[in-house]
């Protein structure tokens, strides 16, 4: 594999890294935001539209974040305040946001725009091989590194991060310790939504510059699957994203070799990724961890035990 290939894999995986980091934070706090597939589409459309109209990419990214934050807030409100089924609300919002993006984005289909500018990071980009693969991108890609490392440090190395985990794992205990469980769940669901919005903008303003109907379809579902694949650990989930990015780049590179089945190649990464997830999920695979304790850290994939469960104070 040469530098350019690795660089393109990292670029392709960037939006997914944002989405997966966001959803991991949300689910760690105990809420499932199933609306990802639609949220990403709607924020991709909004981000592109806002950037085109305002002429500022920054405004585009901000608008995209706001849209996904609003959807996440609705998921949080419906599940925490109204105690509705999170899956049901998330599913409806997925379909609704996807259709809204098609309807509202009609005027922006096929419009040209300038994407995020690339620049080398001084010194780091000079490292042989890895320098050009990792540090010759644009702010969107660098931001995903920061989000990824930041989320890991926050979740596992800070007091607030541990509180977040407590709220997701044992809400009753967290409450007994004086934490406002539901308020924290609101906050982290909305914060997770902000990252999902970044994912949308990273598509429409960078990786797949432009807007066309349904252009990020299924990426949200894959992101939800990768969160599980990563065992609710952002770094492991990011590995899943890069794996998926590699599959995508591979499928793209194979197209000239197999022109006869070129239409099916873009679907294959989704199929392979989900098959891998199923494998990871299968019982016998998880039991490997019991047989080889050294593997347990890599294999462990238990969801936060308070995931999807409403916290009722009484």
């Amino acid at each position: 594999m040469d530098t350019a290939t690795i660089a393109s894999i990292i670029a392709a995986a960037t939006p997914l890294v944002y989405a997966v980091v966001g959803e991991t934070i949300t689910e760690k706090a105990g809420v499932v935001n199933l609306s990802l597939d639609g949220s990403i589409l709607l924020s991709a459309m909004t981000g592109f539209a806002a950037a085109t109209v305002s002429g500022s990419i920054l405004v585009g990214f901000l608008a995209a974040m706001l849209v996904s934050m609003a959807i996440a807030a609705l998921v949080a409100f419906a599940s925490i305040k109204l105690r509705l089924d999170q899956i049901a609300v998330g599913f409806v919002l997925t379909l609704l946001a996807a259709d809204l993006s098609s309807f509202l984005g009609d005027d922006f289909v096929g419009r040209a725009a300038e994407g995020v500018q690339a620049f080398d990071i001084p010194l780091l980009s000079g490292i042989p091989f890895f320098g050009q693969a990792l540090f010759s991108h644009n702010l969107s890609v660098y931001g995903s590194f920061v989000a990824l490392i930041g989320a890991y440090v926050f979740l596992y190395r800070t007091r607030r991060g541990l509180e977040l985990q407590g709220v997701g794992e044992r809400p009753e205990a967290a409450f007994a310790r004086g934490l406002n469980v539901n308020r924290l769940r609101y906050i982290y669901t909305i914060v997770g939504g902000a990252f999902v919005g970044l994912a949308g903008a990273a598509f429409s303003l960078d990786v797949k510059l432009g807007w066309r109907e349904g252009m990020t379809r299924n990426f949200g579902w894959i992101a939800l699957a990768i969160v599980i694949f990563g065992g609710w650990n952002p770094v492991r989930a990011a590995i899943g994203c890069y794996l998926f990015g590699a599959l995508q780049v591979l499928a793209l590179n194979l197209q000239p070799t197999f022109p006869g089945i070129s239409q099916i190649l873009p679907i294959l990464p989704f199929v392979l990724m989900i098959l891998m997830l199923v494998l990871v999920y299968l019982d016998w695979f998880r039991r490997l961890g019991d047989r080889y304790p050294a593997w347990r850290r890599i294999l462990a994939s238990d969801p936060p035990s308070g995931l999807g469960r409403v916290f009722v104070r009484d």
Binding site: A78, L84, L93, L100, F103, G260, Y281, L282, W284, R286
Partner: protein
């Protein structure tokens, strides 16, 4: 406000709000809302031909929704329904291409093949859940992707149109494999759809099986302790749901497209989930709600042709309607809860 009106509010409010949202969206898009609604009506129910076409779209949606009632009542999120529709269409297409003979033989065989295709795909997701502990949402999603892969492969590969391979679909089926019609209507398809609704209604309301299935859905642990083999019920529910979705796929292939296309599911699986949610997961209301949804879907494709609006407006309307219905039911429960809490506090104080 009379009592009757008050009881109807939770049902009417979402409809009113959905209408309001669609009016705002239409105005934003620079269209006259009344002209748009008129076009939705005339485009879907305006004349006999349109009505027949709308009913033909209604059939697969009702079939998928009827199957989803079974899986929802068993407490399962059958996201794999799209793949089950696709596989039903694939197996039906195989019969339509390979089995010779008159319509009297081919048509029942395509339906049977559709049942088998959907059944297998439903059972696969159930087996992953029961034997592999794979959550049915992700197992089903994976099987959806696999089914999409299979149908695209077949359409551009082994079953490609004579001469050219393109994603526009296979060759059109021979006449004997077309779902028979009387005038513009297809009484067989409509009959099958109605039979499915009635069948599911009685299954859930009048049989011991239905009762146990609901027990598994409400509280699997208690059901298991009561001696119900919960795994078997999960398998049966997904199998039945898949079988009905498979018939939906058959109707799509033999009655609507008359060939296999990559988008053969028409999105009726996911739309069916919305229908069933709005019907409060019961069979009684799915037929009329599905009709309403289909009128919106078919009508909004007319909108896109006549008013140059994106046809996704139909989906937006349906989504907003279900979202508001969910929120309204949640708000209703919330009010009941807080009122009960208030009375408890009063009683204690």
């Amino acid at each position: 406000m009379t009592d009757r009106l008050r009881r109807l509010t939770p049902a009417l409010l979402p409809i009113a709000l959905a209408l309001l949202v669609s009016i705002v969206l239409l105005l934003l898009a620079g269209a006259n809302p009344f002209e748009a609604f008129e076009l939705i009506y005339s485009g879907s129910l305006g004349n006999t031909e349109k009505l027949a076409n709308t009913l033909l779209t209604w059939v697969p949606l009702v079939l998928a929704a009827a199957g989803l009632v079974i899986t929802f009542q068993a407490g399962l999120w059958n996201i794999g329904v799209e793949g089950q529709i696709i596989m039903g269409a694939v197996t039906a297409t195989w019969v339509a291409r390979e089995i010779p003979g008159p319509a009297a033989v081919v048509i029942p065989t395509t339906l049977l093949a559709g049942v088998i295709g959907g059944l297998i795909w439903g059972l696969l997701a159930a087996a992953l859940k029961v034997y592999g502990k794979v959550n049915e949402i992700f197992g089903g999603l994976g099987l959806d992707f696999v089914a999409t892969g299979i149908v695209v492969y077949l359409v551009i590969g082994p079953w490609k149109r004579t001469g050219v391979a393109s994603t526009s679909g296979t060759d059109v089926f021979r006449d004997e494999a077309w779902l028979p019609t009387v005038g513009d209507f297809s009484p067989l398809a409509i009959g099958v759809a109605l039979a499915a609704v009635v069948g599911v209604y009685y299954l859930m309301r009048g049989t011991l099986f239905g009762l146990r299935l609901k027990a598994v859905g409400r509280n699997p642990k208690s059901a298991y302790l009561l001696g119900i083999n919960t795994n078997r019920y999960v398998l049966i529910a997904m199998g039945l749901g898949g079988a009905l979705a498979g018939i939906a796929g058959t109707v799509q292939a033999t009655g609507f497209q008359h060939k296999l296309v990559p988008s053969i599911s028409g999105g009726y699986g996911f739309l069916g989930i919305l229908v069933v949610m709005l019907a409060a997961y019961r069979a009684v209301w799915i037929a009329p709600i599905a009709l309403f949804f289909v009128v919106i879907s078919v009508g909004s494709t007319q909108l896109s042709m006549r008013l140059k609006l994106d046809s996704a407006l139909g989906g937006v309307l349906q989504g907003v309607l279900v979202l508001f219905a969910l929120l309204a039911s949640g708000a209703h429960l919330y009010r009941t809860r807080t009122r009960n809490q208030a009375t408890t506090v009063e009683a204690e104080g």
